[in-house]
């Protein structure tokens, strides 16, 4: 009996070892999924790189759209096509990216590119340029931020930086006679929560907010997703959809609670 049990245990061990190593039997090991989804619109088997596709269902035909962190304008062009009768204000502080943005949206009559960073206050601020771990890859500068790299990161280094003009969103809207913003899209490399906290007037009337989310502290004082979610929920928003890479980054769509309740409750 003891011999039988020992043989069974040995056999079990071999099977497990074979499965773990995937040898000879050609065993297929199921990997951990890369992306996850939470929310009410969407699923884990799909990914929407650009969550603008959810927003049109909640917006009038002529929305006022503010895009913060437009980079070279790939997303801006999509916004222009999606809302041909809307007004799109595309903010990009990086001078080189802004030059490309301007060129790319030249034909879009409903887009106004603005060479400013959105910040807590109006003035000037340092834009910390990201060039990869070796600080050499200029192709990664679209990941630049007004926030420096998180110092405890073992790969931290002194970012080169440039001074860029910046503006508070509420101030800018008031100055430019924009009394409401329907759709706010924010990709500000960690500054998302601070922007929202300092744009109370815009927040009161916004309908849809699409925001980049972070699960890891990549920037000094950079906001993490749970904080953004909590803040928006306190300010009368509900999360509609969130695609994210676990422990890394994602993008979430929030919609005004009354709109959400009207459809889903």
């Amino acid at each position: 009996m003891v011999v039988i049990v020992r043989c069974a245990l040995l056999f079990l061990t071999l099977v497990i070892a074979q499965k773990v190593s995937g040898i000879s039997s050609g065993t297929f090991d199921i990997p951990k999924p890369v992306y996850k989804f939470e929310g009410i619109l969407g699923s884990t088997s799909e990914i929407i790189e650009n969550q603008n596709s959810l927003a049109p269902s909640f917006l009038p035909y002529n929305p006022t759209v503010i895009e913060i962190g437009s980079d070279e304008g790939a997303g801006t062009i999509t916004l222009a096509a999606t809302y041909p009768y809307g007004r799109i204000f595309a903010f990009e502080p990086h001078p080189r990216a802004f030059a490309v943005l301007q060129e790319n949206v030249k034909a879009c009559k409903n887009v106004s590119p603005i060479n400013r960073a959105i910040n807590n206050a109006t003035g000037h601020a340092k834009l910390y340029l990201y060039r990869g771990k070796n600080n050499t890859d200029r192709g990664l500068e679209h990941l630049s931020s007004l926030l420096p790299i998180f110092k405890s990161d073992s790969n931290a280094f002194d970012n080169p930086s440039i001074m860029v003009p910046c503006v508070n969103l509420d101030d800018w809207c008031q100055l430019n006679h924009i009394d409401h913003v329907d759709f706010l899209r924010i990709d500000a490399e960690g500054l998302e929560l601070q922007i929202l906290e300092n744009s109370q007037n815009v927040l009161k009337k916004a309908i849809v907010i699409v925001v980049k989310t972070n699960f890891r502290q990549l920037r000094e004082n950079g906001a993490l997703y749970p904080d953004i979610k909590q803040f928006l929920e306190k300010n009368d928003f509900e999360m509609l959809a969130h695609w994210y890479c676990e422990d890394l980054q994602g993008e979430a769509t929030f919609v005004r609670k009354a709109y959400y309740d009207s459809i889903f409750r």
């Binding site: 790189e49 650009n50 009207s262």
Partner: protein, 599 residues
């Protein structure tokens, strides 16, 4: 005294006149008349008149439905439906609900004139705030308004004609049992509940989404002018059904109005509700809100909805596909599109995803068939970029596209592709099956058809959720074609991706390469393409309707010749279609149009 009395009366008259809203016409001003009616032949025992609602631009749906009914000697009157997509802004604003004080504000949809072209309409989603502005339920399409107006117009005609009992059919029916059974069922229902004690009898169990699979409704939809509290919307009135006997049950909220028997009492109630409240929801979702309406259904299907029927309602709607233009297509599908949209070999709208890169990778495989006829199955064809490209560059090919509407993100791909077929009607070697295929469908294809090349780009992981089912699909595809080109992604369906990579090491497979999926420079999504070469001895598979020679796909087989259309103006099927007519019908083939009509 006389002057005083006259002043009072005059003031009252003035008050009534000023309180009456003259700015909008009434709903009934937009009813469509039933023209060309004759009183014979459109009846059955216990049913005074049978209507079939059919759009003028959908003759093929009417023909197919009539073919089903003709077997039983049933001849409905064809009611020319209201085409919602041709309604003017004025008409639309007349028939909707005007937001008034006391109503519950909801997120709704309204329509405005295109600032650049006042003849065109734009939808606008707005939270109700403005009084007297017309709103409809969120995301309604003009097609749904046309459908509702058609049904209500039929009711008005039935009322005016004095009918006691009518059968109202839509044009995408399927006959499951002998419809004459309905006459006996009416007798039975009368004896159970009383002749005057029922208003509507649905001739099926519920709205079908698959064979023996139904889509239940779980409560009432919201209307701004009704009680929207959850305790009301989810009350027994709208959620509870009671089985009466083996044939009947009471019906609460349900989807679909494909086939209904309506008593005069029901006609009156439905008409009164519509005229008093106007249209807010699609017709099937308003039908059960009528106070006091007594609705019954069957415990099985007699006449029910056809599965995978092309929608004429749609969130984007469906203008006359045969008359669609590039301009109307771009207006209709103004949202993001997945693939580059090809019309007559030109990209008329860029998609979010790279297509040319993928096509370049598969071209060498297609080039192996130079100077030979070959068949291609494009599974999950999306906007048809690959099939249209192949059909254009390889005239000796025959491309079968499969796509459907009902996926959550990729909504209306089916309708879009149907329109694109017409825009690419110069291609005689394409066909389109509008179906969300499953393993059972692939088994059918394996039994009856075979393809030289199968393209399955980023689709298998969307067909089934579990890896086990995805494996079965891949196995089925490997026997269905000589060459299976499958694309998997690095960020979606990753379990499936890993399996395909594993499989590529076990079978005769060539890795074609990795391409960037999205055009967005920030995107890191990529797709890997694998070419599985299979040795299949099943090239002689065919149904009994026609023989198929050995080897690669032949020219001018008997079956192929029968499939060629001589109809003027209608795109004819290819001279060497890749599939038989039986398969075309079995899998809900919708293009070319004539393929469907030859039954």
């Amino acid at each position: 005294m006389k002057l005083f009395k006259f002043s009072i009366v005059f003031s009252i008259i003035l008050a009534i006149l000023f309180s009456y809203d003259f700015s909008y016409a009434k709903l009934q001003d937009h009813f469509k008349k039933a023209l060309g009616k004759s009183n014979n032949n459109h009846a059955m025992r216990n049913i005074d008149f049978i209507y079939m609602i059919n759009l003028d631009r959908r003759p093929e749906k009417y023909t197919l439905s009539m073919k089903y009914l003709d077997k039983y000697g049933i001849k409905p009157y064809r009611f020319s439906a209201v085409d919602g997509w041709k309604l003017s802004l004025e008409e639309i604003l007349d028939v909707g609900v005007r937001f008034k004080p006391g109503m519950t504000p909801l997120l709704g949809t309204t329509f405005v004139a295109d600032p650049c072209n006042s003849n065109k309409l734009i939808t606008s989603h707005e939270f109700m705030q403005e009084y007297d502005k017309t709103y409809f339920v969120h995301c309604i399409a003009p097609g749904a308004l046309g459908c509702a107006l058609s049904h209500i117009s039929v009711l008005q005609d039935a009322y005016d004609s004095g009918y006691e009992t009518v059968l109202v059919l839509e044009d995408d029916i399927e006959i499951v049992r002998n419809p004459h059974l309905l006459s006996d069922l009416i007798d039975e229902l009368d004896s159970i509940v009383g002749h005057d004690n029922w208003d509507v009898l649905f001739t099926d169990h519920d709205y079908r989404i698959g064979v023996n699979t139904y889509l239940p409704a779980y409560g009432a939809c919201k209307r701004p002018d009704m009680d929207n509290r959850p305790e009301e919307r989810y009350s027994d009135k709208y959620t509870k059904t009671v089985t009466i006997n083996q044939n009947f049950r009471t019906v609460a909220a349900r989807f679909g109005t494909t086939s209904m028997i309506i008593r005069r009492s029901g006609i009156i109630k439905l008409l009164e509700f519509a005229k008093e409240r106007n249209i807010y929801l699609p017709y099937d979702l308003e039908n059960y809100l009528v106070p006091g309406i007594k609705r019954y259904g069957l415990n099985y299907d007699v006449i029910t909805n056809m599965l995978n029927s092309l929608s004429d309602i749609g969130a984007q709607g469906n203008v006359t596909s045969e008359k669609i233009t590039i301009e109307s297509f771009l207006q209709k599908y103004s949202h993001q599109i997945y693939q580059d949209v090809l019309v007559k070999n030109q990209i008329i709208a860029p998609g979010t995803d790279h297509c040319a890169l993928r096509y370049d990778l598969i071209k060498p495989i297609l080039a192996l068939y130079t100077n030979k006829n070959f068949s291609v199955l494009d599974l999950g064809a999306a906007q048809g970029y690959f099939s249209f490209s192949i059909a254009q560059e390889f005239p000796q090919s025959s491309c079968v596209m499969i796509e459907s509407n009902n996926t959550s993100y990729y909504a209306h791909h089916g309708d879009m592709l149907y329109d694109l077929c017409f825009l690419n009607s110069h291609l005689q070697n394409i066909s389109y099956l509008h179906k969300r295929v499953n393993l059972s469908d692939l088994s059918y294809l394996n039994e009856h058809e075979h393809f030289d090349v199968i393209i399955a780009f980023l689709v298998v992981h969307l067909m089934e959720e579990t890896l086990q089912e995805q494996i079965k699909i891949i196995e089925s595809l490997l026997t269905l074609g000589d060459n299976l080109i499958i694309e998997v992604a690095n960020d979606v369906g990753v379990v499936h991706t890993s399996y395909v990579e594993f499989l590529s090491t076990k079978l005769d497979c060539q890795y074609l390469g990795e391409v960037k999926r999205h055009k967005d420079p920030k995107s890191t999504s990529t797709g890997k393409l694998f070419w599985f070469r299979t040795k299949n001895n099943n090239k002689k598979k065919r149904s009994s309707s026609g023989a198929r020679p050995e080897g690669l796909y032949p020219d001018h087989g008997e079956e192929a010749q029968r499939a060629v259309s001589n109809q003027k103006g209608a795109p004819s099927s290819t001279t060497h279609p890749a599939i038989t007519r039986k398969t075309f019908l079995q899998l809900n083939g919708v293009y070319p149009v004539n393929f469907q009509s030859k039954i």
